[in-house]
């Protein structure tokens, strides 16, 4: 029994933290946040250059050959630094091809995705339906018709993995005719969304889609949870720092027990989430029986904690916390994204109840 990350994994996190610190300090995050596309090709390139385009893609396909746990550790660091961009959708597109694609599809797409020569994303949600594979309704038969909602960077991606009826997955190249995207006015400007409509666009099924789509979703739940832990820890840290510097009544506000206890309450919520995320990722990699249910519980818990922690952090910052200028609002918006993307906590708690035989 050894419940800890390895030295290599600590090193991986240190590398990503340093990279994020250098290439994407909060001042840069803010520029991208306020910018038009929510994407910085230079920043993305620097992430891809250290292998973050294909962390969990096998080496034979040009990836780093690591596990979901490693990818989740990366997501935690990006979440903590609020790094903007297409990491989430791109990672999930790669995993979808890996889990569900034919040899040929893997050979054709994985190296390009891993190297960052192509940008991938996933299209799951549908209007009036849900995010889960059994809720998808689009029919694909060589061509695809219908609309998907909330597709991360749908307008920038080269490849979209689209969820179809019966939990299937198909590949659509956006360069093809009949693919149109319309930007969503989303809260989280570090992770932009599009509604993407397909009007007879040609598509190619991933053969194992119906068997693998649940796993792709679970990977997504875990990456969102890892992001949420990183973001929650950062929101707490910002609040603690503020409490040590802001003065009122002649002392720093951290002297007030109400603030101290509020921060302590935040800390006991946030700190344990780190280990839940580790376990969920470990179960995904090695404990098949527990993988799906743990991912559901973890997503519900981690993203709820992030949301509440971000709210509390705004409150601790007072008036400045309520402004667009304050960096906490960026984390707050990321919390909104993590909470709702792939289904709100309620959805996953109910799934956990069903999977637990309750």
């Amino acid at each position: 029994m050894d419940f800890d990350i390895s030295e290599e994994q600590e090193l991986l996190q240190a590398t990503v933290r340093q990279l994020a610190g250098n290439e994407c300090p909060l001042t840069r995050v803010r520029e991208i946040f306020d910018g038009d596309s929510g994407h910085d090709p230079e920043l993305w390139k620097s992430l891809v250059e250290v292998g973050l385009g294909g962390t969990a893609i096998p080496e034979e396909f040009g990836g780093a050959g690591l596990e979901l746990l490693d990818l989740a550790l990366v997501a935690e660091c990006l979440g903590s630094a609020a790094v903007p961009g297409p990491f989430l959708g791109h990672s999930l597109a790669g995993l979808a091809v890996l889990f569900a694609g034919s040899e040929e599809q893997k050979k054709s797409w994985l190296p390009r995705l891993a190297m960052g020569d192509a940008l991938g994303t996933v299209a799951f949600a549908e209007e009036g339906s849900g995010w889960q594979p059994n809720e998808w309704t689009l029919r694909a038969n060589g061509t695809l018709r219908g609309t998907k909602q909330h597709v991360p960077y749908g307008s920038l991606a080269d490849l979209i993995v689209v969820g179809t009826a019966d939990g299937g997955l198909v590949l659509v190249e956006t360069a093809a005719d009949g693919v149109q995207s319309e930007p969503v006015d989303g809260a989280d400007r570090t992770r932009r969304l599009d509604h993407v409509s397909f009007d007879g666009a040609s598509c190619e099924a991933l053969p194992a889609g119906p068997q693998a789509s649940g796993r792709v979703r679970d990977a997504g739940l875990i990456l969102l949870s890892a992001d949420a832990y990183g973001g929650a820890a950062r929101s707490l840290e910002m609040a603690v720092e503020y409490a040590k510097t802001r003065q009122q009544f002649g002392v720093t506000i951290g002297h007030f027990q109400a603030i101290k206890h509020q921060l302590a309450n935040m800390a006991i919520e946030v700190d344990p989430v780190r280990f839940l995320v580790w376990y969920a990722a470990h179960a995904f990699d090695h404990v098949p029986d527990e993988s799906e249910r743990t991912a559901a519980l973890t997503k519900a818990h981690a993203t709820s904690v992030f949301m509440q922690t971000a709210r509390d952090s705004v409150e601790v910052h007072g008036g400045i916390g309520y402004t667009w200028e304050c960096d906490v609002q960026i984390l707050f918006k990321r919390a909104m994204f993590d909470r709702a993307f792939l289904g709100a906590p309620r959805v996953h708690r109910e799934r956990a109840a069903v999977l637990g035989g309750w």
Binding site: M1, H255, A267, I268, W278
Partner: protein
């Protein structure tokens, strides 16, 4: 990361099972012995085999095993299956023994540790006083040296188990001229003497687990002090450290869930099992999220502990988290039992017990508050986490009161 017990531990489990098959429940002539002798005999053998008193040196009656949380939990699992005697539960083994090991003299260790481990002597903790709870260092019970003996006068309160204790480990002001923290000594006191009077207090559960203890010219030998004179505060901090970690135990955090789910299955809402009610399902899954997060935090602590590496501020949080979760569980249970929420509680639950009927859940509804107050109230825990964990400034009040 590897969460399996692994082959070595499974082999160890077989060993423990074989030991138990031979020794518990007692057979043949051992089965004829009085219960106390059966337990003694069994504990002696279990210590010899390295299964009990694992952190205690052999010369004081322990089995002196290297720390290994996994072996400990294998032993716990197997012993519990057969209801075999474990190390006695309580303040003696949990608090006093570790403190003696760290700060006691050789003769103190010789005299007290072995019988405490065997359950032959029982202890109570005389810290709180009517005027000194969270601000414990303001305590007033005084000890004066008269020849070879300390003469003790004063009152303790909320003293759990004083009615059955043989001895008390007690904080007593022996250096009244010193500032408050520096004037206290950690004293061992025989409870069976004329100067000690124990009056039971009735708890809100209806039971009398804690007491008032009055010392009127009670006596204890001069050298029954642990640590130096006036060092009692520091010595007691060693004890509290053990108290906080003693309260946590991998598995205890999630252990409450199956009982709660069971309750939800057998309770009705609108004529259907409550476990089918969407609100109940949400709440159960929410609680499970908290429990799981903390279960894995404990695994992490155990792993770091075994490697001799610091686990960081999460160590300060176990007590508060546990009381919060336990209260959430109790509150949901109260929702589930419906009109049985009108009933009186069904008796005090031990640390390792789970409620088995609705009156048991009423008890845990009340008992979960005891946990939030005893051994450092939740607000005091928040101070500790805020100050030592997050590096925030100390409270003015605490700074000013010297």
């Amino acid at each position: 990361m590897d969460l399996s017990y692994g082959e070595a531990y499974e082999a160890f489990r077989k060993e423990v099972q074989a030991f138990l098959a031979e020794n518990w429940p007692p057979r043949a002539e051992a089965a004829e012995l009085p219960r106390k002798d059966q337990v003694d005999r069994f504990r002696d053998r279990a210590v010899d085999a390295g299964y009990l008193a694992r952190s205690i040196p052999r010369k004081y009656g322990g089995s002196e095993q290297p720390p290994d949380a996994l072996r400990a939990s294998v032993i716990g699992e197997e012993f519990r299956k057969l209801r075999a005697p474990m190390d006695p539960v309580g303040l003696g083994v949990g608090l006093l023994v570790p403190t003696l090991l760290e700060r006691g003299t050789d003769w103190q260790k010789e005299k007290f540790i072995r019988p405490t481990l065997r359950g032959h002597i029982r202890w109570c903790q005389g810290y709180s006083e009517p005027g000194s709870g969270s601000d414990l260092a303001s305590l007033q019970t005084k000890g004066e040296l008269a020849g070879d003996e300390w003469v003790i006068n004063g009152q303790k309160i909320w003293t759990s188990g004083a009615q059955i204790a043989d001895y008390c480990f007690c904080l007593v002001r022996t250096e009244p001229e010193q500032p408050k923290h520096a004037g206290i000594s950690y004293m061992l006191i025989d409870m069976h003497q004329p100067g000690v009077e124990v009056r039971p207090l009735r708890q809100m559960t209806g039971h009398s687990g804690f007491n008032e203890v009055f010392f009127t010219d009670a006596r204890t030998p001069k050298d029954w002090i642990v640590g130096e004179r006036g060092e009692g505060w520091l010595v007691s901090r060693t004890t509290l450290k053990h108290e906080r970690s003693g309260l946590m135990n991998v598995g205890q955090a999630t252990g409450q869930l199956p009982a709660l789910v069971k309750l939800a299955r057998r309770s009705l809402r609108d004529g259907r099992p409550a476990v089918e009610d969407p609100e109940v399902r949400q709440k159960l899954a929410e609680i499970e999220g908290y429990m799981k997060a903390n279960e894995y935090a404990l695994y992490y602590r155990a792993t770091r502990g075994r490697k001799g590496r610091d686990a960081g501020r999460i160590q300060l949080m176990a007590k508060l988290i546990r009381s919060e979760i336990t209260q959430e569980v109790a509150k949901l249970a109260m929702e589930l039992i419906g009109d049985d929420g009108l009933l009186a509680g069904g008796g005090e639950l031990g640390m390792r017990e789970r409620p088995s009927d609705n009156r048991g859940w009423v008890s845990s509804y009340m008992g979960s508050l005891g946990g939030a107050i005893a051994a450092g109230s939740s607000n005091i825990q928040r101070n500790v986490i805020g100050e030592r964990g997050l590096g925030l400034p100390r409270d003015w009040a605490a700074q000013r009161s010297k």
